[in-house]
Symmetry: C2
Subunit: 520 residues, 2 copies
Amino acid sequence: MKNAVGREIPDELLVNNKRVYYGKNQIDGQYEQKVGPKRRIGEKPREDKLVATLREACEKCGVHDGMTISFHSVFRNGDYVAAMAVKTLVEELGVKDLKIAATSLGSAHDIIADYIEKGVVTGIQTSGVRGRIGEVISAGKLKTPAIIRSHGGRPRAIAAGEVTIDIAFIGASASDYYGNAAGIGGKNNSGVIGFAGPDAKYANHVIVVTDTLVPFPNLPAAINAMDVDYVVTVDEVGNPDKIATAEARMTQDPRELMMARNVADIIANTPYFKDGFSFQTGVGGPSLAVNRFLEEHMVKNNIQMGFALGGISNAMCQLQDKGLVKKILDTQCFDKPTIEHLAKNPDKHIEITTDEYANPSNQGAYVNKLDYVVLSALEIDTDFNVNVITGSDGVLRGAPGGHPDTAAGSKCCIIVTPLTRGRMATVCEKVVTVTTPGDTVDVLVTDYGTAVNPLRQDIIDCLDKAGIPHVTIESLKEKAYSLVGRPDDLEWEDKVIAIVEARDGSILDVVRRIKPVTLD
Amino acid sequence: MKNAVGREIPDELLVNNKRVYYGKNQIDGQYEQKVGPKRRIGEKPREDKLVATLREACEKCGVHDGMTISFHSVFRNGDYVAAMAVKTLVEELGVKDLKIAATSLGSAHDIIADYIEKGVVTGIQTSGVRGRIGEVISAGKLKTPAIIRSHGGRPRAIAAGEVTIDIAFIGASASDYYGNAAGIGGKNNSGVIGFAGPDAKYANHVIVVTDTLVPFPNLPAAINAMDVDYVVTVDEVGNPDKIATAEARMTQDPRELMMARNVADIIANTPYFKDGFSFQTGVGGPSLAVNRFLEEHMVKNNIQMGFALGGISNAMCQLQDKGLVKKILDTQCFDKPTIEHLAKNPDKHIEITTDEYANPSNQGAYVNKLDYVVLSALEIDTDFNVNVITGSDGVLRGAPGGHPDTAAGSKCCIIVTPLTRGRMATVCEKVVTVTTPGDTVDVLVTDYGTAVNPLRQDIIDCLDKAGIPHVTIESLKEKAYSLVGRPDDLEWEDKVIAIVEARDGSILDVVRRIKPVTLD
């Protein structure tokens, strides 16, 4: 059955009320029965919740074949807890048929790729699929299709009962002996741990893993002890130096700076750019650089940002320190200075969960109050559909993250990307995989020109009025193809290796096994 | 069927898995399936959640005969919102068979007594039943027995699905247009609004009622906009001057001061009195005065309180300002200086919900970490059972509040009360109604002597070692009877007018209709 972004969804996936994507805002105004966790009652006073080892904590919670576990990804490539947890369950406790419902997976989790190959890990639900895990899933080695969700889609699925987490392992920079835990106050700080918020609320068991025990009560805390079964101390929960990736840098590339300046100019010439406006930007080179040029416009127009949202980097913290940003609503700290800034500014740099950030089924996530979001793309097609999950070779190597959520929620979603990367056209006829539907994407800024989605005549008028040049997205695609050639169609097998869920839970796209499979 | 505190519970109440009270910690370690709310999905961005009138907000949420509504009691006798909400539903929308699941009810809610008499309000679930409401319920005018729960029992019942709230009306001192709401930052501040925490999480609809709209996003906030359907502004949400009751004063009565000193001496001579100890006290005269004498012991022994818990009054804030209390965990501000102190000290004076405070079915409420609690009583019997709900005339005029929760959770629960009040013996053979089971009560301090529960030989040994005199509770009862006479037995009809639930949901006692009924 074909869905609203023109993708053919196999009928056999449309079971258990699963439906294809019909378009944005299809569930708005409906009523949803949220589920609750099955929790151990702690009526009797006890001294603490400390147990000596992760193994013991797992045993006390109860382990069984086929169980589903979760962990968060705030330490990104520096995360140690997920690997510890999986290893304990598989190696020490012999759990088979393990399902993983992580917030994201990357190079810190190569051990999970091994367990997929061994057939021990049989299910993956995640936003990001990077590194070896993406390769083995793409190679068809996971027993069931991976389910790819956005940051907002994940808490939606959890609250709807589509995912039941048996044990959530929550790596925390600091915790008291009762489980009041946070990403600050320890020796390895991650900053916010809002990715784990839904897990703490909905998992049947919650184990806090920390390397820094602090005095009780560790309040205010991001993770509430009322939700925590056990606390385990380990040597190191993660390495904050590995949170910042190569992408999270302020670019010096003149092309990227030009694109960033163009994005800022577009923002400054649309009607939402007024005192109290809200803004989110990614960490890719040109996205991040938008901050710099936006600052000039804000100062010139004497306006202040009402709130900055999303994954936060130091550039935004600096803007706040200059008095240009009233509140930062932070769902992930992208670098160490941001972590320090969070700890020092509890009144205006505020941790939020992914639920608050982006869940389409609560009563209005913060993405719904976004004026502008600036996002990158691996590919964007002439219907403005964006792909941020599969490479041009068809292999999983990305993450929707908050991309589809912020695109859907914001008043103006701007994609900024170079027209080509190496020999690949970024603007193309049909993206390999749709992760963000085109009707939620408003503007595309490339190094070869800007295109506005024809659905947004209001923005076209603004650009015309401001004398900002723009072209059709078809012309950008043609330009890209003229530079690097029209790509050959990828050849796919029938086997579905991943399902891309829209944020509302419907099926947006599927990823099939590519043939021949390219590994390494 | 007789329960563990010797009360005869009518069989007809033991339906739907309801059981009689077996004793403390009977549900510890069991697993409970928590429920979730049925929530309206807010996928589509919208400017705000403001609606012009309470009536419109109710209509948008949907009203029906037999519906259950809730509101919190943090403004105590100064609350305006509950009356507004009930009046709107009954007078403007014609709702019949209305059920009320409030955190407490008192003199601010006389209008509900009228609606009970008219047969429009047919069900009451509450902690406190004071004023006219207590009288009309006691007179048998409510169609179904009132259900009396402790502050911990209420969130337990809500999370277990025993109460389904159709609409929660949350009066808030300040809110943004999206429903991020708090008890500070407005023109009529209540301080914490943690009583409404479970309602915000579990009600199917949440309406925030405020008299002070503040800029979005109003963060950090006690009530999360993600849970809120609509925001309504009114002239005044409540009168903070009426929060402090006559009881919440620092006594000058020499008898009360003597009792308070004795309580502090007992605390100082038990092993939990060490650096980092935790403490809660009520607002009755002698309870509150304990702070003063405890301060002397703390200074002398050079120890600091780890945390103070519960309803908080200015005496505790002052102790913290002197450096004697590390954290205050505040579930209700008892006076205006405490409200101001909360606003000024977000790092160490911390708002908690009643769920975190006292719910026996989460994974360890703060009451479970209490070393000492000092509580008052209307009556205490020779089994150490306490009554804080019915007067000596059998009429409802009190509130269990956190009494049974803190008694059960704390290591040492001290009841402080004069031996007689007027012509009534406070220490008696059988309390009129059991609200706190005797096996959770450890020490009784009266103006005629101290008694220790024989279950606590360890505390008896401590007192003996310190040379603190104590007597049997039987001798205190005899002394009381010798002073004011043995009271006549009350005469009851069969009709049950209220059920007192133990904090674990079992039936602790019932209150029958007294004959003859005495109404003003």
